[in-house]
Amino acid sequence: EPEVTQTPSHQVTQMGQEVILRCVPISNHLYFYWYRQILGQKVEFLVSFYNNEISEKSEIFDDQFSVERPDGSNFTLKIRSTKLEDSAMYFCASRSPLGASKNIQYFGAGTRLSVL
């Protein structure tokens, strides 16, 4: 069964460094999402992406964050200058535009980002 894959599973970085989290969505999906979960807190929406542009973003998604679909398969989240409070689990999700499952998001296993 197709699934969303995320790499790496764990990323450790120094404060102030740039990180790129990678996601490969399900191949026929057209809507893409990033969420994050700080330890012990809720899973929070960051951004949604469709047709090569951001369709919605939360107040968390400030200028330090960017998303990109550099080719036909990858969907990336970049944090330009990481802060300690960016430490969290980051989840990628994708969704099909069609059919009975069009309102279901399919999630990856997440990337745990640790900022030291």
């Binding site: 809507y31 809720k42 899973v43 949604s48 469709y50 919605e56 969704r95 999630f107 296993a109």
Partner: protein, 117 residues
Amino acid sequence: AQTVTQSQPEMSVQEAETVTLSCTYDTSENNYYLFWYKQPPSRQMILVIRQEAYKQQNATENRFSVNFQKAAKSFSLKISDSQLGDTAMYFCAFMKLYTSGTYKYIFGTGTRLKVLA
């Protein structure tokens, strides 16, 4: 703004028994979807069950069923005949449809369920 509350951070249940996980939400929307996702350790979140708000009938998927009380804004998950493989974190999620067509999820904090042998 919509909120989702899961008031049980951790629960345990004996194998083969039944357990109910609670979820309440707050919204002024009339049309929306509700979901339960399961996240086994170190694995991705998997959809367990979903409910359309306009449907009065409670959704069921094999051993999983929901008790959807729209007026009370309650959406509990019942797991019957619990199995060891049900051990996971369970997230309740609310979905609002934005005018842009984005389907944004709002999650609760999760309930960690442990099934005991």
